[in-house]
């Protein structure tokens, strides 16, 4: 892959810049998507029939996401055992996050009132859309970090950090809006 080679091995500064522009622009589009969803949520929660459900399990999701984000740092730092460890931590935490998020969506769908309850519907919606983005973003981060030899370029590391930290911040914001604003 032309871009992958350029990104990972530091060749083609113009193409590196292009990749940066594209990644930042795609994060902008993602921000707008979640801004739209959150706007809808804020409007809906102002209605008289709004009934939130208190819960603690989202904190677990946050923790997993933070570990996953940290795993990128370790994985990217250098070659050798630490890097392998980082990748393993990243994979484990991502898997746990995915399972946790899908578990939460399943639990609100099967709870009393199910997805007809507006709060449950928004939990499923926001987490579900985040999961999709986490899969795509995580895949991208692994792609730019997976290089032979001496480790990723500064450029690849920057991209991976940007994406994973953005997704983590997004999850923090979603969890705060859903459970912190009650």
């Amino acid at each position: 892959m032309r871009v992958a080679a350029s990104v990972s091995q530091g060749r083609g500064p113009a193409l590196e810049n292009a990749t940066r522009v594209a990644v930042v622009a795609s994060l902008g589009a993602t921000t707008m998507l979640f801004a739209s969803l959150v706007s809808a949520y804020l409007v809906r929660r102002s209605f008289a029939d709004w009934r939130p459900s208190p819960a603690l399990w989202p904190l677990g999701l946050l923790a997993f996401a933070l570990i996953a984000s940290g795993g990128v740092e370790i994985a990217a730092r250098d070659a050798g055992a630490r890097r392998r460890l980082g990748f393993q931590a990243l994979a484990l935490a991502s898997g746990l996050y995915l399972a946790g998020a899908l578990g939460v969506i399943g639990s609100v769908a099967s709870a009393e009132g199910g997805l007809q309850m507006p709060f449950n519907a928004f939990v499923a919606l926001l987490l579900g859309v985040h999961v999709v983005h986490a899969i795509v973003g995580g895949g991208f981060a692994i792609w730019v970090l997976r290089v032979e030899g001496s480790g990723p370029s500064d450029h690849g590391l920057w991209l991976a950090r940007l994406v994973t930290h953005f997704l983590t911040a997004l999850l923090c914001a979603i969890v705060f809006l859903l459970f912190g604003l009650q």
Partner: protein, 546 residues
């Protein structure tokens, strides 16, 4: 033909190519095919408005599912205007101007070898093609295509079984739109990355042609506005299939039974939809405005007047397009204070638009004009932009809009300013860049005849709609003459329909000219218009990169 190797070569060169020029032409050709469908639907809509109780035996034999004993069914009529709007706005005009011209021209105009991410670019086209096929496939579902308008307002679009088109057709509409948005997003990322990062060394942003500037703003608009429709579409799909009630209000009764759930807000959809919907207007118009500015420069022999202010005007129009969506919702019961705020922002957009108009006048003033076919189309865009812009100022005011909302006046306005300017932009671009695409010139006589007929019949079709709207003719009504006060408008509507038929027939000239010129057009030479922009420094037709 020697066998498989050669045919694979042809496939990879002309079908599965990564070359931006081939991809641009693929977009253009697909959009032309979709235009034939969208145009046909428009004629059927006009036929129904002009003669609602007439028996159309011949047409009903071709489309038996849409007619009952020769008379068009109401649900088929609703499907026609829904699919006409959707296809023309997204799958024709957006695709041709942005996918077609954008892909072909941006790398050439910035001096790059190709788009930044050619595979992503090809993927963008193929997703667009699939989305077009999915949208067209809805015509062949048992209950027909979506029928809730191109705006897909709930609850009609949210409730399966509300009308025929609310079933599988509406699902396919949503899936096709999601795919289209994905395609547009991939294209937009590529455009931005290419313009910002792959410019030829020494080529500054303020040296770029205004068409490339327009594509730069279009990419930003699309990337920031389309997510709003994505969010709304996901929520609507969940309402339809997962039992949520984001947009379904309480108290609905469907076929005598109370709808489960409820508590949602259909107005929420309108906010999310129009947050995309209004920037989409500029997504369609900015490329045409960019083409007009560049052509005025080429055919007056001097760079367009006030180049920098043209760029700033496009930036302002783009930025302000995110602040005006509420003017589509003045009758939704919004606070009068909020309505006033949207009226002010809408009116303010006239300022950068006015800058463009005055710069164009200054560009043409006292200059020798070369009235070639592309220049005529550019002048046509100028005319439509002013005419449609003036009625836009009316519709931006709450007091007037409340009277004119959902009338034929609105149909006239957006067909002139948005659809017309964009369509004329497509014709201007095809005539202007045809030598670059294919190495030959299009026939000038045919081109001028096509322009004159289209210009006259376009106004003949859409200008009288202002008058019909002012007299209260509402849009999307199956039979306007069920209301006594609209009966005097029957002859005007018949006139509009005949003008639309003449407009459609005029387009045959374009297709004849296009395909004839492909084979028999005069060889163009390297720079037939003596244009100063970089794309003409390539040999014509440009050779493939890869």
């Amino acid at each position: 033909m020697s066998g498989g190797g050669e045919s694979r070569g042809i496939l990879s060169r002309y079908v599965f190519s990564l070359d931006h020029r081939v991809i641009g032409l693929q977009y253009l050709m697909t959009a032309m095919g979709m235009a034939l469908v969208g145009g046909l639907l428009a004629l059927l809509v006009r036929m129904q408005i002009a003669w609602p109780s007439h028996e159309f035996r011949a047409v009903s034999r071709l489309l038996p599912q849409g007619f009952d004993e020769g008379i068009m069914k109401p649900e088929f009529y609703a499907a026609l205007f829904t699919m006409h709007g959707t296809i023309m706005i997204f799958f024709v005009l957006s695709a041709a101007l942005i996918g077609g011209f954008g892909n072909y021209l941006i790398p050439l105009q910035v001096g790059a070898r190709d788009m930044a991410f050619p595979r992503l670019n090809a993927l963008s086209y193929w997703i667009y093609l699939v989305s077009s096929v999915v949208m067209l496939a809805s015509f062949f579902t048992p209950s027909g295509p979506a029928a809730s308008g191109w705006t897909a307002y709930p609850p009609l679009s949210a409730l399966k079984g509300a009308i025929a088109g609310s079933n599988l057709g509406q699902d396919l509409w949503l899936v096709a739109m999601a795919l289209f948005i994905l395609s547009f997003t991939l294209g937009g990322l590529n455009f931005l990355a290419t313009i910002v990062a792959l410019r030829r060394p020494g080529l500054l942003m303020m040296d770029l042609p205004l068409f490339t500037w327009a594509m730069f703003f279009v990419a930003i608009l699309g990337l920031l506005a389309f997510p709003s429709l994505t969010a709304a579409s996901i929520m609507l799909l969940l309402d339809r299939h997962a039992g949520t009630s984001f947009f379904i209000p309480t108290g609905l009764v469907l076929s005598g039974e109370a709808v489960q759930g409820g508590g949602g807000s259909p107005i929420l959809w309108q906010h999310l939809f129009w947050f995309l919907g209004h920037p989409e207007v500029y997504i369609l118009m900015l490329p045409s405005l960019g083409i007009t500015s560049d052509l005025f420069g080429v055919f007056t022999g001097r760079r367009v007047f006030g180049y920098a202010s043209m760029v700033y005007a496009m930036a302002l129009i783009s930025g302000m397009s995110f602040l005006v969506w509420g003017h589509h919702m003045f009758v939704s019961g919004m606070s009068p204070f909020l309505g006033s705020a949207f009226a002010v922002t809408t009116t303010l957009i006239a300022v950068p638009s006015g800058v463009k108009v005055f710069n164009w006048i200054a560009s043409l003033w006292n200059r020798p004009l070369r009235l070639t076919t592309p220049m005529l189309w550019a002048l046509g865009i100028f005319s439509l932009f002013v005419t449609g812009g003036l009625s836009g100022i009316w519709l931006g005011q709450t007091q007037i809009d409340i009277q004119l909302h959902d009338t034929a006046f609105v149909v006239a306005h957006f067909h002139i300013i948005m659809a017309g300017a964009a369509l004329f932009g497509v014709f201007a671009g095809v005539h202007y860049w045809f030598p670059l695409f294919f190495g030959r010139l299009m026939n000038e006589r045919l081109g001028i005849a096509h322009f004159l007929l289209t210009f006259v019949f376009y106004y003949a079709t859409f200008f009288p709609m202002h008058l019909a709207g002012l007299q209260g003719q509402v849009r999307r009504v199956y039979d306007p003459y069920q209301y006594d006060y609209l009966k005097p408008l029957a002859s005007m509507n018949a006139f509009i329909t005949w003008a639309a038929v003449a407009l459609a027939i005029s387009q045959i000239l374009f297709f004849v000219n296009f395909f004839w010129s492909l084979k028999k057009g005069n060889p163009a030479g390297p720079n037939p218009w003596t244009a100063p922009t970089l794309e003409w420094s390539e040999p014509a037709p440009a050779e493939e990169n890869a």
